[in-house]
């Protein structure tokens, strides 16, 4: 099997750029350190040769950028999509947020992205370089020399609980497609559900009190593509710029989670980008778990055009009172 590395992707992009299929392509750009990869757009293979990177830190999902980018001109935009990115991509198509005819999607494989915060939690600040060798990550530190750690232990949370290695959309796939996985992604939610209401309240009070309302979770979220967010809209009645108190902290996150309920693909970006380390995915996953158990399994983004659970119903749906009492048994 051909090894999927940076060169393969650059060659593919080069081919597409030169045969006129696309005139630009979203890709990852290496940074100053090993882990600060930035999403960017490339117009030439030359630029890619200089800056393109494809490694354990290419977590950024380009789907959301397509909403604005495809509106710019009539040319096709190329985009590299990891399996979980394709779910966001499909969901955006379902919501008519961009025209798929203006995108050329290149599916790329992914064996999980590394979380540099976890590496830092292991070895502290002062990381000179991070490289991967097989299933090990080799970390060169400023103070303690070279260290090794199992890649599985420093994967991002969302990758440890990866829901699917299968691409649900692509124009072209590089490498082989994977399968939808059985993940333990609801374990944490279940753990919370088993707590008493007081414990849960204390847990969330503590987590949400960290919120600085930087809006990173919202602005990175592929489901949050509103032209104008209700929290930015003075007419919505909930507009605010900072969490003035505990209520506003909660309100922002409840409303945000509700607005993406049934549309959230569980990509985990919200938790990844939170500068305060709030486990925001646990809110979204609660909705996903509830939707699955109340209305049958539904994976947003799995199928283009599928009807989201909140824009659907059956006559036999459970009552709200049953919903809240479900956890009691």
């Amino acid at each position: 099997m051909q090894k999927i590395n940076r060169e393969v992707l650059i060659n593919k992009a080069n081919e597409l750029l030169s045969n006129g299929t696309i005139n630009r392509v979203f890709g990852w750009e290496k940074g100053d350190f090993s882990y600060d990869v930035t999403p960017t757009i490339y117009f030439t293979a030359d630029q890619m040769n200089k800056k393109f990177i494809f490694d354990d830190f290419c977590g950024a999902n380009f789907s959301k950028y397509l909403v604005a980018e495809t509106k710019k001109d009539q040319n096709k935009v190329g985009v590299f999509l990891k399996p979980c990115d394709t779910y966001s991509f499909n969901q955006l198509l379902t919501e008519h947020r961009f025209d798929k005819e203006k995108v050329y999607a290149i599916g790329v494989p992914c064996d999980g992205m590394v979380d540099e915060k976890k590496i830092k939690a292991f070895f502290g600040e002062g990381i000179s370089s991070i490289t991967s060798e097989g299933d090990e990550i080799i970390v060169d530190t400023l103070y303690d020399g070279v260290k090794k750690v199992k890649k599985a232990d420093v994967l991002q949370e969302r990758c440890q609980n990866c829901k699917s290695k299968k691409h649900v959309y692509y124009d072209e796939l590089i490498g082989e497609d994977g399968e939808v996985l059985d993940s333990n992604r609801f374990d944490e939610v279940e753990k919370l559900e088993k707590m008493t209401a007081d414990e849960r309240f204390a847990f969330w009070q503590n987590e949400l009190s960290k919120c600085i309302r930087c809006n990173a979770c919202r602005d990175v979220c592929p489901a949050c593509t509103c032209e104008k967010c209700v929290f930015n809209n003075p007419n919505s009645g909930v507009e605010n710029k900072s969490p003035a108190n505990e209520f506003e902290e909660k309100m922002f996150h409840i409303i945000r989670a509700f607005h993406v309920a049934g549309r959230c693909t569980d990509c985990g970006e919200c938790s990844r980008v939170c500068p305060q380390g709030i486990p925001l995915h646990l809110l979204n996953r609660k909705f996903i778990k509830d939707i699955n158990s109340f209305y049958g399994n539904y994976q947003a983004g799995e199928q283009e055009g599928s009807r989201a659970p909140l824009t659907n119903y059956t006559k036999e749906d459970l009552e709200p009172s049953e919903a809240v009492n479900k956890g009691d048994n």
């Binding site: 509106k71 919501e95 008519h96 947020r97 593509t225 509103c226 032209e227 104008k228 967010c229 209700v230 809209n233 007419n235 919505s236 009645g237 607005h259 993406v260 549309r263 009807r307 989201a308 909140l310 824009t311 659907n312």
Partner: protein, 664 residues
């Protein structure tokens, strides 16, 4: 800033008994926006209304709050009052301090306090009210009736008689529907054709009615008063306006082996045919599935014999666009398929037939010219068994039968039994029944006559199995009253098959955005009070498409639907409900969430050009609410993630202001 007037009603002692109305009026004076506050014994009285009108003029009020009884009682009254004084009627809010305050509380302090809160809440809302104008749309004065059975015929005639244009779309080559296939009708036993065909002729001759036979509706756009419908007129390869219906072609056509669907396949017709003698329109139709000319290009007999030169093998399907103000669904029913009822041997023996087949066998114009004979050998049956409830009241298996009672089978079985015994007194007739249901005028008398005067054997118990044995049919059943099992021989078995809505109803409902129940019957707007209207404005229901019905019931419903249509078409303009959804296009994402939850299909999308930053142009998909269709439920407002969708008269800001006022 609004200038609000508050009017507190005493309602005699109804309110004033437990609410200190003067204190309420006084307290509300200080609320933001309030410039005038008054109280009066009966605000809804002439004098009370005058008081409001005077205050509107004197204080230049821009909004009023009436603290009185339920808005369900007098909101309309006070809106009219406001309108009469030159104020927009939607600048009126009611604080319900009677039903939801004075009547349920005994303590004056408590009642007064709550009344003040309720008043404050209404004031908070009015502060954010905006004048609303009901949208108007013109009405196309033409109705479309889909289905040309007795239901459609009656509806069309009634509408046309009132002076409005009506089009009937019928999939078959002729109108007439199921009734045309019937022999006699219960409980009077008059001949179906004798009463139906004159009506068919009326339709044909009515200057206001146009029949699109051999046609179907393929697309419906628009909304109440302004539907745009595309009708596909299938090619019948005969020029309708030229064909005289002489029938010569149908005698000369060499293709003789075409199962005759009018007689349910019990005899054959030609490839060119007129379904029956009294067909309307009486023109021939070529069946392209059998016509040798159309299939192979060799034949052309009909064209040769046609003296009118009406045959046109090159005819194509034609699409006609027409505008309508109202649409009536009259798509009717069909007996369900008996294929799955193996225990009754329908597919094993020709002598097991359905009741509709029996109608044709008994009909003078039927395959046997009205002679009751066994389809297998043409012999006269000596023993006939009727089985009721075949596939009706069948909850066990949705694949097989229907859970509901088909309503008409008891009566037509009694009719069949009676007619058989009347025509052939030597025949032994047995009816197996579960219950005999006869709730209609002269119905039970009719059934009793069959049993008492005509000697039909009624046995309570269901047939379990029918097996062909030689040229006989062995019928095994239980007699529940005698508590014994019966094994009887029969020459002919007639199954009272359940009826189901025509298959065309489901796609039609989708086109009309009319709702249906799980059995594919159209849902009525209200099961008791609006039984002939669909919840979709401008769509009406006639006949069995709404539920099983007999002929008199169908005809009365058809007339009722016609009355509703006439009521609609009589208006020049339709005034909408101004409390409708409205999308702010600057915020709309075009994500389709609202469209998916709209029960009326009131939301559509368009690509619109917007000015982007720095002199660029952006094209965005945005939602548009058709105000004439929207009924103002507000479901879309919650489905919309960006909050672009709001509901006039119940805007998010208004409701939040009410919440704030209550929680203060």
């Amino acid at each position: 800033m609004q200038r609000i007037g508050v009017f507190v009603c005493w309602c005699g002692s109804n309110i004033a008994g437990t609410v200190d109305v003067k204190a309420v009026a006084e307290a509300l004076k200080n609320e933001p926006g309030v410039v005038h506050s008054a109280n009066y014994q009966y605000m809804c009285s002439q004098a009370g209304q005058e008081l409001i009108k005077d205050a509107i003029k004197e204080h230049k009020l821009t909004g009023i709050v009436v603290c009185s009884c339920s808005p369900r009682m007098h909101e309309g009254t006070f809106r009219k009052t406001a309108e009469a004084a030159g104020l927009n009627p939607y600048m009126v809010e009611i604080a319900n301090i009677r039903e939801q305050c004075s009547w349920i509380h005994k303590d004056i302090a408590e009642g007064t306090e709550k009344a003040i809160v309720l008043g404050r809440t209404a004031i908070a809302k009015v502060n954010l009210n905006a004048p609303l104008m009901a949208g108007e749309s013109p009405v196309t004065k033409r109705a479309l009736v889909i289905g040309g059975g007795i239901a459609g015929i009656q509806t069309a005639l009634d509408i046309a008689d009132a002076g409005f244009e009506v089009d009937i779309v019928e999939t078959k080559p002729t109108i007439g529907g199921k009734m045309a296939q019937l022999d006699k009708t219960f409980p009077t036993l008059d001949c179906a054709a004798c009463i139906l065909t004159p009506k068919m002729v009326d339709v044909a001759q009515h200057e206001k009615i146009k029949i699109y036979s051999y046609s179907e509706v393929v697309d419906v756009r628009g909304f109440v008063g302004n539907f745009e419908v595309t009708i596909k007129k299938r090619a019948r390869f005969v020029k309708e306006d030229i064909c005289t219906g002489c029938g010569l072609c149908t005698e000369k056509c060499p293709q003789k082996k075409v199962p005759n669907e009018f007689n349910l396949g019990m005899d054959n017709r030609r490839a060119i045919y007129i379904p029956f003698a009294q067909a309307v329109p009486k023109v021939a139709t070529i069946d392209p599935n059998y016509c040798t000319m159309l299939k192979t290009g060799k034949c052309g007999v009909c064209a040769k014999v046609c003296t009118a030169n009406a045959i046109d093998y090159t005819q194509k399907d034609e699409f006609i666009d027409q505008k309508y103000g109202a649409i009536v669904a009259a798509t009717g029913f069909n007996p369900i398929s008996m294929e799955k009822f193996d225990e009754f041997a329908y597919s094993q023996s020709k002598d097991v037939i359905t009741s509709l087949e029996f109608e044709r066998l008994m009909n003078a114009a039927g395959p046997t010219a009205g002679k009751l004979v066994r389809p297998s050998d043409g012999k006269h049956p000596q023993k006939i068994v009727f089985v009721q409830c075949v596939g009706s009241r069948c909850a066990a298996c949705a694949e097989k039968g229907k859970e509901y009672c088909s309503k008409i089978c008891c009566m037509y079985t009694a009719k069949h039994a009676m007619l058989t015994r009347d025509k052939y007194p030597d025949t032994d007739v047995t009816v197996f029944y579960i219950d005999v249901r006869t709730p209609g005028k002269n119905f039970d008398e009719f059934y009793r006559r069959a049993a008492e005067e005509y000697g039909v054997h009624y046995i309570k118990g269901m047939v379990g199995k029918i097996s062909p044995e030689g040229d006989k049919l062995m019928v095994r059943a239980s007699d529940l009253l005698a508590n014994k099992q019966i094994n009887m021989e029969a020459d002919l078995v007639v199954l009272a098959a359940a009826i189901e809505p025509d298959k065309s109803a489901r796609p039609l409902a989708t086109m009309l955005t009319a709702s249906m129940d799980t059995n594919d019957f159209f849902t009525e707007a209200h099961p008791k009070l609006r039984p002939v209207e669909s919840p979709t404005a401008g769509v009406f229901l006639s006949g069995c498409c709404q539920g099983p019905k007999d002929i008199p019931e169908t005809v009365s419903q058809a007339g009722a639907a016609a009355a509703k249509v006439i009521g609609l078409l009589a208006k020049d303009k339709l005034k909408g409900n101004p409390c409708v959804a409205h999308s702010d296009e600057m915020m709309c994402n075009g994500c389709s969430s609202c469209e998916k939850v709209c029960p009326y299909g009131a939301i559509t999308y368009e690509d619109k050009e917007f000015r982007g930053p720095n002199r660029t142009t952006l094209i965005r998909r945005i939602a548009k609410v058709n105000e004439a269709i929207c009924q103002g439920c507000g479901c879309c407002t919650v489905a919309c993630p960006s909050g672009a969708m709001d509901l006039k008269g119940f805007a998010s800001k208004q409701i939040m202001a009410e919440v704030d006022a209550i929680c203060k």
